[in-house]
């Protein structure tokens, strides 16, 4: 056979088989980037979790897909002690770990796996703790090393976490990706074989899909876990990630049925997607906020009246229309409306340049010049910070405030904006980790976070007291009241101009059934199926 005839025969077969991709229960997901690895404990990027913790692993408690509600996962049930310092988890029996070419489990999931999962992140003497420069950054940044006193195996199916202080968000924290349960038996086997890095390269979990292969920057393949503990799931036989970094190219692939689901469309393509008969455009408000943080320690921004006046001069709706091209909504609170305890009774400062001007005069401020920092990167909560800064500049000019826009390289931006004596208001944002209001209010506006993730450098005792009290309270109704009150105080004090919550769009092909946009940002295929 000549090369030419091989080529044409190949084309014919490829053409015949191209349409068959969706028929045999194989779904192709055009993912936006490469995972850093497959051990979710080691990393912090959502792209990595999509490829590791979501398909391959489970957690003790899990988020119900499409919500921020925690439901039983590998733990069937749990209870907290009255002082909130001890959490006892009752593990699910009969859960099987995956098997692969290099590993076949000899036992079911048990308490040893849970203890190992957390101790490798917590204890310096665990052989996996410092392997290949591991830093366990998510575990660290959620303050787990300070929070967890010990993890005790009570019996094979019971584990007790002892905490140093009560934390109402603890169960939600354990539903996060870094808390994915890994197999101790696999870890021991790989350590004995001298290849501990396999835990990160060829993951073994209990999740709905088994990892098959990863070709860097190109393809990740998974196959159905036939022994999955959730009856009837997953529905797909095979799951393939086709790594496609360019959003326009992802859209072309979706149109050509080279993939059936894609994340992060270009805002400019959204209209065309809505009109496309082959595509369902799913959408949900993202669990995020884009804000502008004043430096509340520097005059005149230490005066709430000045901050309030500036907020009133800002035409937020115009920003949503121009910067988000409609795929966003005005933020009146720091937490998004999909989150429990969102206080809808809070009234946003009206857009009123005249009143704003007057308020500034009353505060004795004239000829104000300020800097606004514009991020150099795109984020869901702020797709174009430069443009946003320009719009605010125009708005502020109307009340006689002169704005200079500054920007730095991203790493510089992040570290300089933390400085206590920073000059100017910073555009930035936040995407929630665990669906708990504490994860917004304490991280972004708590006293402990001043000089770090609290870019407003705002430490206000009445507010702080409320969020600290809420953190120790385990009754959600009580917590809701406290957080609602905290949001009222924040509106009065205006340490931030809360600007927008983005809308997350998720284009899927018509034959994709059961896909739910997850508010925490993950892309989950457990309940997805394909119809002909």
């Amino acid at each position: 056979m000549t090369i030419r005839s091989i080529f044409f025969a190949g084309c014919a077969v490829a053409a015949l088989s191209a349409g068959a991709a969706s028929a045999d229960g194989t779904l192709v997901y055009c993912s936006e980037g490469s995972p850093e690895g497959f051990d979710p404990g080691l990393f912090t990027a959502g792209t990595t979790f999509d490829a590791s913790s979501q398909p391959v692993y489970d957690q003790l408690a899990m988020f119900k897909t499409g919500t921020t509600e925690t439901v039983p996962g590998l733990a069937e049930s749990w209870e907290a002690s009255d002082d909130g310092l001890e959490y006892t988890f009752h593990l699910r029996p009969g859960v099987k770990f995956h098997s692969s070419d290099i590993f076949t489990p000899t036992r079911d999931f048990n308490a040893d796996d849970v203890v190992f999962t957390f101790e490798r992140q917590l204890k310096a003497d665990n052989p996996y703790h410092s392997l290949n420069g591991a830093t366990w950054e998510y575990f660290e940044s959620m303050s787990m090393p300070d929070l967890i006193k010990s993890i005790d195996k009570i019996d094979d199916m019971t584990v007790k976490f002892v905490l140093n202080r009560p934390d109402a968000a603890f169960v939600a924290d354990l539903a996060m990706d870094f808390a994915s349960i890994v197999s101790k038996e696999y870890a021991d086997a790989m350590l004995a074989a001298g290849t501990p890095e396999m835990l990160n390269q060829a993951p073994i979990g209990t999740g709905p899909f088994k990892f098959v292969a990863y070709q860097k920057d190109a393809v990740i393949r998974y196959t159905k876990n036939q022994d999955y503990w959730q009856e009837g799931l997953p529905k797909l036989d095979n799951l393939i990630f086709a790594i496609t970094t360019d959003a326009s190219v992802r859209y072309q692939k979706l149109k050509a049925n080279e993939c059936q689901v894609m994340p992060y469309p270009n805002p400019a393509d959204v209209e065309a997607m809505k009109a496309d008969p082959d595509i369902n455009l799913l959408q949900q408000e993202g669990l995020n906020v884009g804000y502008m943080a004043y430096n509340t320690t520097v005059a005149p921004f230490d005066n709430p009246k000045v901050r309030k006046a500036l907020n009133m001069a800002m035409d937020k709706q115009a920003i949503i229309d121009v910067v988000f091209q409609g795929s966003g909504q005005v933020a009146k609170n720091l937490i998004p409306p999909t989150m429990w305890s969102y206080n809808d009774a809070v009234v946003d400062d009206p857009y009123d340049p005249e009143a704003a001007k007057k308020m500034l005069e009353e505060a004795g401020v004239s000829d104000l010049s300020m800097k606004i920092w514009a991020m150099p990167v795109q984020r869901p909560y702020n797709p174009n910070a430069r443009r946003m800064a320009e719009l605010i500049q125009e708005d502020f000019a109307k009340i006689g405030v002169n704005v200079e826009i500054v920007s730095y390289e991203w790493g510089e931006y992040l570290s300089r904006s933390r400085e206590l004596d920073r000059d100017g208001a910073v555009l930035l944002g936040w995407t929630g980790d665990n669906g708990d209001p504490d994860n917004f209010l304490a991280v972004l506006a708590g006293c402990d976070a001043v000089g770090n993730s609290n870019r407003a450098q705002w430490c206000y005792q009445p507010f702080e007291d409320l969020i600290q009290k809420a953190k120790l309270e385990t009754d959600q109704a009580e917590r809701t009241k406290l957080y609602e009150e905290a949001q009222v105080i924040m509106k009065e004090q205006a340490p931030f101009a809360t600007i927008a919550h983005s809308v997350v769009y998720m284009p899927v092909r018509k034959e994709v059934q059961g896909y739910k946009v997850h508010p925490l940002g993950g892309h989950i295929f457990t309940e997805v199926s394909l119809s002909e």
Binding site: V13, A14, S17, A20, T44, T244, V249, Q252, L414
Partner: protein
């Protein structure tokens, strides 16, 4: 000839050390550091920052860091990626075949199209073909790769459905990488249709990446052919009554090729640069995309290791080109 080889090799060594220093310095000149970028919006405490700086050895003085790096390089160790924690050399050799395959195809495309086009343009100087060719070469040279690639995808993949949008092979085919070259691996796999699919996937990226070298080669071939064609010995050949084919194709072309070979050699650098954009758009898993991602993440070991490997590659190609001159032009051998 031996002297030439030895001389070229001798200049190779200082260049190599220079490159290690430049690659080491380059990434450190950029503002921002990997640890801050890793922490993102969340940030991290000053103590934790210092701890991580120490863990990765970034708290040591620059000369010490450079020495550690150089020592590693001389022992064939490029370090671990800060992001994936895998050896840089492992990642490089996993991705490089994809870039090499695409670059070779693009170069073959550029040479096979560019040299004949340049020769024909020179022979028919001033005619319609010449003018059309030279204007399209100018357009090809100045066209933004990003735009050109998207245009081809929308027309040929989107509207006409002739070629796949991106990737290296249809995802239905699955076989382990043996050589890393998809054209070879797909044949080795024995799966029917795999090779055809790999070829189809190569078409658009090859055209996109080959466009600029094609334009440069066509223009260079034309101008050096024009120069040669006006030489006395060509007139002599004509006077002898040799066929135009023999005059243009043998006598003129061989001498006209010297500058063209130089351009081809220099294009290797351009190809690797163009590969960055081409790979990003076509989701081609090569080193270009890998380098760009690593620069954004300030993954020092990957950037310095990857740049060093690319620089070595360009140096080797240029060495080969220098030696090729000797082959084409005997005068150079004597120097």
């Amino acid at each position: 000839m031996l002297r030439l080889i030895l001389f070229r090799l001798a200049t190779f060594i200082p260049t190599f050390f220079g490159v290690t220093l430049v690659t080491f310095a380059f990434i450190r000149v950029l503002p921002g550091d990997p640890i801050v970028v890793m922490a993102g919006e969340r940030g991290l405490s000053a103590e934790r920052y210092a701890e991580l700086m120490h863990q990765f050895g970034f708290d040591q003085s620059l000369p010490v860091q450079y020495w550690d790096y150089l020592w590693g390089v001389l022992h064939g160790d490029l370090g671990l990626s800060l992001v994936t924690r895998k050896p840089v050399s492992t990642e490089f050799f996993a991705l490089f075949p994809a870039t090499l395959e695409l670059s070779i195809c693009a170069m073959i495309f550029a040479v096979l199209m560019g040299i004949p086009a340049g020769v024909i343009a020179a022979v028919y100087r001033g005619r319609l073909f010449d003018r059309a060719l030279m204007s399209s070469a100018l357009v090809g040279y100045s066209m933004p790769i990003f735009w050109w690639a998207l245009l081809l995808i929308i027309v040929f993949s989107g509207n006409l459905n002739w070629t796949p949008v991106s990737g290296r092979i249809d995802l239905l085919y699955y076989f382990p990488a043996v050589t890393g070259f998809m054209l070879i691996d797909s044949l080795l796999s024995g799966q029917s249709g795999a090779f055809g699919s790999a070829v189809q996937h190569l078409i658009l990226p090859t055209i996109v990446l080959g466009t600029i070298p094609l334009a440069v080669i066509a223009r260079q071939t034309r101008s050096s052919m024009l120069e040669v064609l006006s030489e006395d010995y060509i007139r002599t050949a004509r006077a002898k009554g040799l066929s135009p084919w023999r005059i243009n194709g043998v006598h003129a072309l061989r001498n006209g090729m010297i500058p063209v070979v130089t351009v081809i050699g220099l294009s290797v650098g351009t190809l690797l640069g163009g590969a960055i954009l081409t790979e990003t758009i076509f989701s081609w898993p090569g080193i270009g995309k890998w380098m760009v991602d690593s620069i954004f993440r300030r993954d020092y070991p990957v950037v310095q290791g990857g740049l060093l490997m690319i620089a070595l590659m360009v140096m080797v190609v240029n060495l080969v080109v220098d030696l090729l001159y000797g082959f084409i032009n005997p005068k150079i051998r004597k120097r």
